[in-house]
C-alpha cells in the first residue's frame, strides 16, 4: 500500500519535472550572440548594465562567457564565440594578422596599477612600473600573478621583460591561475604585490588591505577592443549578431554609459570611452 503511494508520488514528481524541462527547452528560441570577454568587464559590473540594454534594443540574447582574454581569443579562433571584448593588444594584433578576426575597434581604456601591502617591503611606492617590478624581484618580495594568459597576465609579462627580470620558477613568484578578483584576494591574504586593472580593484577595494603603490605610467595603460570574428573558417559564427554587439559598444549612447559607469559608486569613472579615437592618441 505504502509502496504504491510512494510510487505515485514519485511519478507525479517525475512528470511535473519533465514538463519543467520542456518549458526550459522551448525558451531557447531567440537568436543568441556569444560574447567572450575578460573577467574585469564582468567583475566590475559594467556588462550587467550594457548587456540588458543591448538585448532590449537588438532583440538578440547575449551569452556572456567571462574568461581571461587569452581564453576568449582561443574561443574566437575556434569559432566558438561571435564577438570578443578583450584587453590584450599585442595578442589581438596577432589574432587579426592570422585572419581570425574581421574588424577590431577601440572601445575604452583605464589603467593597470601595482598594488602591495602598506608596509611596502620592496620600496616601490612612486616608482615607474618597470622599476617597481625590478625592485620586487631584487628584494624577493612575494608577487601574485594571474598566470592564466589573461590580458592582465600578458601586461605583467611585458613589464617583467621591460624590467629585465625572468620571474618564472622563482619562489617569490606565485601564479594563482584565477580571475582578477580572486587573485586580489590571494595577494591581500599573503601580503603580496600584484598587478591589477583599476576597475576590478575599485570594485573590490573595501575588502582588501592592498594599497596602490605604482600608477600613472604610460606602460600601465589598459586598452579594450571589440573584435568581430572572421566567419570564413567557421560558417556557424553569428556574424550579424557579433557586428550588432560591436556596433553597440562603440555607439555614442553606450560610450556615454561607459564614461559614467561607476561614478556614483566609486566617485570616479572605472572606464574611459575611446570609440573612434586613433590608437596613437592613447600612446600606442
Amino acid at each position: 500500500m505504502i509502496t504504491r503511494q510512494i510510487l505515485t508520488r514519485i511519478t507525479t514528481l517525475a512528470v511535473s519535472l519533465t514538463i519543467l524541462i520542456w518549458s526550459t527547452a522551448a525558451m531557447a528560441a531567440p537568436k543568441t550572440v556569444i560574447l567572450a570577454t575578460t573577467t574585469s568587464t564582468q567583475d566590475s559590473g559594467l556588462l550587467d548594465v550594457l548587456v540588458p540594454l543591448f538585448e532590449k534594443e537588438s532583440g538578440y540574447q547575449v551569452k556572456t562567457i567571462s574568461v581571461g582574454s587569452g581564453q576568449a581569443m582561443k574561443m574566437g579562433e575556434k569559432g566558438e564565440a561571435d564577438v570578443l571584448l578583450v584587453h590584450s593588444p599585442d595578442a589581438e594584433k596577432k589574432f587579426m594578422a592570422y585572419g581570425f578576426g574581421a574588424v577590431r575597434r577601440l572601445v575604452m581604456h583605464n589603467d593597470f596599477i601595482i598594488l602591495g601591502p602598506a608596509a611596502d617591503p620592496a620600496g616601490v611606492k612612486g616608482t615607474k612600473a618597470a622599476e617597481a617590478m625590478k625592485l620586487i624581484a631584487q628584494k624577493n618580495s612575494l608577487f601574485a600573478s594571474r598566470g592564466d594568459n589573461s590580458g592582465t597576465h600578458a601586461k605583467e609579462k611585458g613589464l617583467w621583460k621591460a624590467a629585465g627580470v625572468n620571474p618564472e620558477g622563482q619562489k617569490w613568484y606565485q601564479q594563482t591561475g584565477l580571475g582578477m578578483g580572486q587573485t586580489l584576494s590571494v595577494a591581500a591574504e599573503k601580503k603580496a604585490y600584484v598587478l591589477a586593472d583599476r576597475a576590478t580593484y575599485l570594485a573590490l577595494r573595501k575588502n582588501l588591505g592592498l594599497e596602490i603603490l605604482a600608477e600613472g605610467d604610460g606602460r600601465l595603460l589598459n586598452i579594450y577592443h571589440v573584435l568581430e570574428i572572421n566567419p570564413v573558417k567557421w560558417p556557424k559564427v553569428n556574424v550579424p549578431g557579433g557586428k550588432a554587439f560591436a556596433d553597440f559598444m562603440v555607439a555614442k549612447k553606450s560610450q556615454d554609459i561607459i564614461g559614467r559607469f561607476g561614478v556614483e559608486k566609486f566617485g570616479a569613472p572605472l572606464f574611459f570611452p575611446d570609440a573612434g579615437k586613433k590608437p596613437e592618441s592613447l600612446g600606442l
Binding site: 505504502i2 510512494i6 508520488r9 526550459t24 531557447a28 567583475d43 559590473g45 562567457i65 567557421w234
Partner: protein, 232 residues
Amino acid sequence: MELIFEGLQTALKLIFSLDREVLAITLLSLKVSCSATLASLSIGIPIGVFLALSDFPGRRLVISLVNTGMGLPPVVVGLFVTIFLWRNGPLGFLEILYTPLAMILAQAVIATPIVTGITIASIQQLPANLKLQVRALGATRLQTVWILVRESRLPLLAAVMAGFGGVISEVGASIMVGGNIKGQTRVLTTATVMETGKGNFDVAIALSLILLALAFGVNYLLTVIQQRERPR
C-alpha cells in the same frame, strides 16, 4: 566574524524579501539538478539491475569502471561535454551549449555512475535465495526483476540522495557548460563562485546558505520517505 554575521544577515534579507534574482537562481538550481537526477535514475537503475543480476565475461571490469565513475571529477565531465557541444564539435548541431539543457546533460553524466553503483550494491545485498524463491513461484523474468527492485527500494532512495547531492553541489561542470550567464544558466554554485570573485562575500555566504538549506530540504524529504518504511 563580522563577515559571517553580515553574510547571515544578507541571507535572511535575500530570502525573506523574496529577491527575484535569487529566487530565479534557486529555482533553476533545483530544476537542473532534479532533472539531471531523474535522468540518471532512468539510466542508472536499469543498468545497475542488469549488472547485478547478469553474468558475462568482463562483468567485473565493467563494475569497477562504474565504481570509478562514482568519483568522476565534475571538471573533467564539464570539459568533455563542452568540447562535444561546441558549435563545431560532434554534437554542435544540437545548439545547447550554454543552456540549462547542457547543464542537465553534464550533471546526468556525473550522477549516472553514482546511481548505477549504488543500485548494483543494493540489489546484490538482497538475500540470494529471494531470486530463486520468486522464480520458483513462477514469476516471469520481468516480474522477478520488478520484485527485486521493489525489495531494494530503501537503499535505492540512498542512490537518489547521493546522485542529487552530487549534482546540486557541483560547480566545475556547470560553470563550463552553462557559462554562468545571468538569467539563463546562473545557478547557486556558479553564482557563489562569481560573487566571491567580485568580492561580495556577504552575498556569496547568503547563496551558500540557501544551497545548504535546499540540499537539506530535499534530503530530509527523501529520508522521511525512506525511514517511514524501514523494516522494523
